[in-house]
């Protein structure tokens, strides 16, 4: 392609090195014992050990954190996508009273700083007995993921011609049949991109997840911050836990990479 000038390729290469170095360093620390890390500085671990990873997989505090995180991320993605699908469909197909205002009001929620909602969320979920459950975190994250899902899905669905709706009606299909068997399969890449962004938000968020959980539903990101303060700095285990939190993201990206560019191209992120 003519647009790939030499300068921009060098910048890209440099940026890749910049991206990889901290990740490489994380991996080497995860493979070393704590005494080793404190004792010597070395670029390649001379006595690699898997003890840090073993600690995470055998200590219930650590692996329970992963289970908690994954359960609220899945709950959140499920809730967000299932409420956003009908809403995005009607936004893309119908005009109705207050549709534009509603659409933009939804988007303003994306602009709300999570810190603003700390206190009211804490009180709201405590008063209805949801505090310290994965559901509380999932619902709290919905404030950000639902508007985002509607926005992404609406962008994709608007690109699907309305003739398809009319054809299905002429063929005598019920709306339910049309929506689940014809319309959703057409939009599966849109759903993939939406899942990606819900996952992305819910998995990486710390502030709300930390405030809304106590000892029971403590997510992995919180286990990490609390362990640091409790038992001094166990860099090796901390690095190993970090490696585990990076992996699901890489997996998700690999599966949706083709749809990702299309999603970004619509400018709907």
């Amino acid at each position: 392609m003519s647009r790939r000038s030499r300068l921009s390729r060098w910048v890209l290469a440099g940026y890749c090195v910049y991206l990889i170095l901290p990740l490489y360093w994380l991996l080497t620390l995860a493979l070393r014992s704590n005494a080793d890390i404190a004792g010597v500085f070395e670029l390649v671990p001379s006595n690699p050990t898997l003890a840090n990873f073993a600690e995470i997989l055998t200590n219930p505090v650590w692996y329970q954190g992963f289970v908690n995180s994954i359960s609220y991320v899945l709950l959140n993605t499920l809730i967000s996508v299932s409420v956003a699908l009908p809403a995005a469909y009607v936004f893309s197909r119908y005009r109705f009273l207050g549709d534009r205002q509603l659409f933009f009001w939804l988007l303003t929620n994306r602009m709300a700083p999570p810190a603003v909602f700390l206190l009211p969320f804490f009180q709201l979920y405590s008063s209805i007995g949801l505090f310290d459950t994965p559901l509380a975190v999932a619902l709290a994250h919905c404030l950000f993921t639902v508007p985002l899902s509607v926005w992404i899905l609406e962008g994709f669905m608007s690109g699907v011609p309305t003739e398809i709706d009319d054809m299905a009606r002429i063929d005598g299909h019920s709306f339910w049949f049309f929506f689940t068997r014809i319309f959703l399969p057409i939009n599966r890449s849109a759903i993939g991109v939406t899942v990606f962004f819900c996952f992305m938000f819910s998995w990486v968020e710390l502030l709300l997840a930390r405030t809304l959980t106590g000892s029971e539903a403590k997510p992995i990101v919180v286990v990490m911050t609390r362990t640091v303060s409790a038992s001094g700095m166990d860099w090796g285990v901390l690095a190993a836990a970090s490696v585990f939190t990076v992996l699901p993201g890489i997996l998700v990206v690999w599966f949706v990479r083709q749809h990702l560019v299309k999603g970004f191209a619509l400018g709907r992120v």
């Binding site: 809403a87 119908y94 009273l97 994306r110 810190a115 603003v116 608007s158």
Partner: protein, 290 residues
Amino acid sequence: MAQNKTQDNRAWLGVLPVMLIVAFSGVIPLMTVVNYSVQDILDFNTRFFVGFEWYRETLTDPRFIDAFLRQLGFSAAVLAIEIPLGIVIARGMPTQGLRASLLLVLLATPLLIPWNVVGTIWQIYARSDIGLLGVTLNEMGFAFNYTAEPLHAWLTLLATDIWHWTSLVALLAFAGLTSVPAACYQAAELDGASKWQVFRHVELPRLKGVLVIAVLLRLMDSFMIYTEPFVLTGGGPGNTTTFLSQYLATMAVGQFDLGPAAAFSVIYFLFILLFSWLFYASVMRSEEGS
């Protein structure tokens, strides 16, 4: 939203679930905040209406103003670096093949790492005792220590944010570039346009849409930054990297100052809406003008 759409108010049924869930997790809490912001709450049974007292107090609080100015500086620096860098990276991306896929995955990876882990990664990378970067800089003769030197703390935070979020700008710009037809490049080549002219007159106009989104997202998100400074510097040394979210979190959950924290929240939210709207409106105006 350009298609021929039918008017039908029953469509409200379709948005009802979204309305309910956003009302529950957005409107109720926001109303609670607004309600608190005009009251002095001693305990849950003793409270007084104080009008705009907390707002006045927050806006004249020197610590709030300091945090706000730091926040502005940080967001400005983030935008000034990440937007041009992201565009250049996007122009260097190959469009096909395994290398393109691997690059996409590498670029998207930082976006999916939990924010506190991003902080941790940079912590163990930049520390002057065990970090690759910190030790290397010290070996080279710079007395680099981000936990003690405000300037180093700022540079480390900026480097972290660039590491974390430039990919988002790059991916958006890359997606925008894929929509530039090859014919445009050929035409520019025939006209003997320089590389810069191709960028300025062929690519940039078509990137406008995605760049508006990129600036908006980076503006909003950098304005809400909490987790990375919290893990990396804890707001220090001193208060030199305490941004708005962290100050608010300390007030609300740390000290439980309900009224002032609520007023702070409302002001904070309004500022973000204002900045986003100003930017959006100015883009729209220039679009109408051209």
